[in-house]
């Protein structure tokens, strides 16, 4: 009892109490927003030895922001059979959080689900669009995903919409402290220190929220005046190389490929303050770029996509040109609102190569 009355013990208990209080408040908030009191990442992802993290089969998050389900095969949305049903034209959309549709109120409102309806109506045939987008994935991760999980589905067409993760990773590596972004659940080898860190990463929402929100904020404050006006050296070449590898890999697996350029919520026609506000969320996760740097980066990425499309004779949907920078269409710098999801689906449906079945039964691309 004497130990418990000691001031040191009370100080330590106060710290523990504050941390537990913070954890509780954040879990209640998480429950109200997502329908789950756990760490959202823990609910949604599983550690994967190759991909770092993968969607957790049967995950279901439901809250005030909407509903999100992962099917038994680990893809967002409704169940589908691994074997392609006869007569069905199977499309797989690959990319990151913009494909996954983290802000869509329900699975049916993600642009991929809406695209399925548009294509079925346009082409007059049975079309199945699978959402293979995973938040945080880069092109490199998507190459692994393609080989491991997408090609076995024998898709007829793969649509690739990859936005800013590669850019953010390269910026952190080149302009940052040299630390690559953390991958939830990735463990190199067993060691008590790594086990503790992994346990903290996976089970403490407070830690997760601090790292997700405060760390970029600190980096933003500390690097406010030294943002870069240019892209990391070699980024463009490396991005192009990986994208080409993805295309080659998909084609080798017998699928057609459509590439999309990266859209964004800000454009030079807007007043500077509006551009800055629209790009704010990008700068939160990529505090190394200035506004001109962001334009240069998007330009570099999109030029790379166009070059790959041209070199590999792959259809291109130039979403960078097509998607208006209307604030009503966006939730942040790159993620779209419900109206944006609908617009994306429409724009893509209009421009995808026609896959109507001909009288001979062949598919026209």
């Amino acid at each position: 009892m004497r130990v418990l009355r000691a001031k040191t013990t009370r100080v330590v208990l106060t710290v523990v109490a504050f941390l537990l209080l913070g954890e509780t408040v954040l879990r209640v908030r998480s429950y109200l927003l997502h329908g789950s009191a756990g760490v959202a990442d823990e609910e949604l992802y599983l550690p994967d030895p190759v991909l770092g993290k993968a969607l957790r089969p049967h995950a279901r998050l439901r809250g005030s922001r909407g509903e999100l389900t992962v099917n038994s095969l680990g893809f967002r949305g409704r169940e589908f059979s691994r074997e392609k049903p006869p007569g069905v034209y199977r499309v797989v959309c690959m990319g990151d959080s913009v494909v996954f549709g983290r802000y869509a109120p329900s699975d049916d409102q993600v642009w991929t689900a809406q695209l399925q309806k548009h294509l079925a109506r346009r082409w007059g045939r049975s079309v199945e669009v699978i959402n293979a987008g995973v938040p945080g994935y880069s092109v490199e991760t998507n190459i692994h995903l393609l080989r491991l999980r997408v090609l076995p589905l024998r898709p007829d067409l793969i649509i690739v919409c990859q936005l800013v993760n590669d850019l953010n990773n390269a910026s952190a590596r080149v302009f940052g402290r040299g630390s690559a972004p953390r991958t939830a659940g990735a463990r190199v080898r067993f060691a008590p220190g790594q086990w503790l860190a992994a346990f903290r990463d996976e089970h403490f929402l407070l830690y997760h929220i601090i790292r997700k929100n405060l760390t970029p904020l600190v980096a933003t404050v500390s690097r406010g005046a030294t943002r870069h006006d240019d892209v990391p050296p070699d980024f463009s070449r490396e991005y192009e190389r990986r994208l080409a590898e993805l295309v080659d890999c998909a084609r080798a697996g017998g699928s057609g490929v459509v590439l999309c350029t990266a859209w964004k919520a800000f454009g030079p026609a807007q007043p500077i303050a509006v551009q800055e506000a629209a790009a704010a969320s990008l700068f939160l996760v990529n505090p190394y770029l200035s506004l001109p740097g962001a334009y240069a980066a998007f330009d570099a990425m999109n030029q790379a996509v166009r070059r790959v499309a041209q070199d590999r004779c792959v259809p291109l949907v130039d979403m960078a040109e097509l998607m208006p920078t209307d604030p009503r269409l966006f939730r942040d710098a790159v993620h779209v609102s419900a109206a944006g999801e609908a617009m994306l689906a429409e724009l893509l449906a209009e421009r995808l190569p026609d896959a109507r079945r001909t009288e001979s039964g062949d598919v026209v691309h």
Binding site: V12, T14, A197, L214, V218, S222, R223, A225
Partner: protein, 469 residues
């Protein structure tokens, strides 16, 4: 296991609870400390523990033998076994490749073909620190200043004590061993002060040193010609503050952890950038090393007892070896030579007045000049080669124009670092006393806030600079 990691926090909590649970039994308490220390040390590399254990057994046995032996020759022989054994291992593991590379370069310059194979040797972390520490034990017994301990457990804890094993401070057996024999009582005030020291160390390391390194120092030292004179100069000043905050942070955490276990380690810093000369600087910077060099190298070499030129030679040799102690590179040797030459020059000029004896104006200019001399030394210390030193001095000397790092937070960190350094100790002590006197809930709230800050700021977990030595 870095002091800034969650792993260490959990480890220390377990050790703290186990230590105080066994506090009444001296043997049990020391066993807990020894097990914890070896676990901590093995977390860096399991193989390192064998060398540490070897050093422990060697010097424990030599210590006992020295005490029992009467003959001068035999005693000298025993001391030689300890010194050569420990320094031999240090020289082989730390300097083997350096000597071979230097020999290769020298012979190549003379046109002699010689390509020695590089030694693929393990370099145990903290070997320089514990080697010097273990030598204090045998040398002090040889000199008759202390008696050897009869308990190998006691001696093993002295050598392996985890808060200081990898980067000091270098404790003396005469100071540390008696503490292990005394009964200990869990004292609330002392524990809180220890905890405060730990958090002060973490703040210095994560919020100041790492930030200064990433923002001002690393980019400029990596490519000095890419920056102008101002940025290069700023990088040097920032490095002066970074290395102070980094190393004193490690010392604070070590002292704080030890204090929570009712053990005291020697202080290592006393506002070094307020020094008025080289000798004053070395009485304020890395005090445990500088006093070791003085007592176990400079004075045995003859000190200042054999005339002016012998004194200069002794100073030069001491500082050269002190420089080499830091690392196997010519930049460290040059850094040591620079300080040796500066100390000799100061000795030749005969400036012996203390800061308090100087008029305020003179004191200010002496401090400013000393700080800049120390900064010149830091360029040698931090640079990865002489080409970097030349490039930095060239950029500064020619007043080259170029971009200046203008981040907001690092500037604040730089100011905070200077604040930590220049605040009078009595004022700092007053603040610490008041903080420890605050209600537990307020202290807890502050610590929670700091933990959130550390979590947000700890990025790549840059290792402590002195861990490499």
């Amino acid at each position: 296991m870095s002091f800034t990691s969650l792993y260490f926090a959990v480890f220390f909590t377990v050790v703290f609870v186990a230590y105080w649970a066994c506090a009444r039994s001296r043997r049990l308490r020391l066993s807990v400390l020894l097990a914890a220390s070896y676990y901590f040390y093995m977390s860096w590399d399991v193989r390192c523990a064998a060398l540490l254990a070897g050093s422990t057994i060697l010097d424990f046995c030599v210590g006992l033998a020295l005490f029992r032996t009467r003959g001068a020759t035999a005693r000298r022989l025993l001391l030689a076994v300890s010194v050569c054994g420990n320094l031999g291992v240090l020289a082989t593991l730390k300097y083997g490749n350096f000597f071979l590379d230097s020999l290769h370069a020298l012979l190549a310059a003379m046109g002699v073909p010689f390509s020695p194979a590089r030694l693929d040797l393990l370099l145990p972390v903290g070997i320089s620190f514990y080697t010097f520490q273990t030598l204090t034990y045998t040398i002090d017994i040889y000199r008759g200043r202390i008696e050897p301990t009869r308990s190998i457990l006691e001696y093993a804890v002295f050598l392996a004590f985890f808060p200081r094993i990898v980067a000091g401070p270098i404790a003396r057996a005469a100071h540390f061993l008696p503490q292990l024999r005394k009964p200990v009582v869990l004292d609330d005030d002392r524990t809180l002060r220890g905890l405060l020291l730990v958090f002060r160390g973490l703040l210095k390391k994560i919020a100041i040193a790492d930030l200064l390194g990433a923002a001002f120092v690393d980019p400029v030292f990596a490519s000095p010609r890419g920056f102008g004179a101002c940025a290069n100069l700023l990088a040097v000043y920032a490095y002066a503050m970074q290395i102070y905050c980094d190393f004193s942070a490690y010392t604070d955490i070590a002292l704080g952890c030890a204090r929570m276990l009712a053990l005291e380690l020697p202080a290592n810093f006393h506002r070094p950038y307020l020094a008025i000369g080289a000798r004053d600087f070395w009485s304020r910077w890395h005090i445990s090393l500088s006093t070791w060099l003085r007592d176990y190298l400079y004075i045995p070499l003859g000190g200042n007892r054999h005339g002016r030129w012998r004194t200069y030679r002794n100073l030069a040799v001491t500082m050269l070896l002190g420089g080499l102690w830091h690392g196997a590179a010519w930049t460290f040797v040059l850094w040591g030579a620079f300080h040796g030459a500066w100390l000799s020059l100061e000795h030749a000029l005969g400036t012996r007045r203390t800061a308090e004896e100087l008029p305020p104006g003179v004191r200010f200019w002496r401090r400013l000049a000393t700080f800049h001399m120390v900064c010149c030394g830091w360029i040698l210390f931090r640079a990865d080669g002489l080409h970097t030193v030349a490039a930095m001095l060239g950029q500064i000397g020619t007043l080259a124009s170029g971009p200046v790092v203008a981040d907001r937070l690092p500037w604040l960190a730089l100011l905070l670092g200077f604040g930590f350094h220049f605040l009078p100790p009595e004022r700092v002590q007053g603040v610490l006393d008041r903080f420890v006197g605050l209600p537990a809930v307020v202290q807890g709230a502050v610590y929670t806030g700091l933990l959130v800050l550390f979590t947000a700021m700890s990025g790549s977990e840059a290792p402590f600079i002195y861990l490499q030595f």
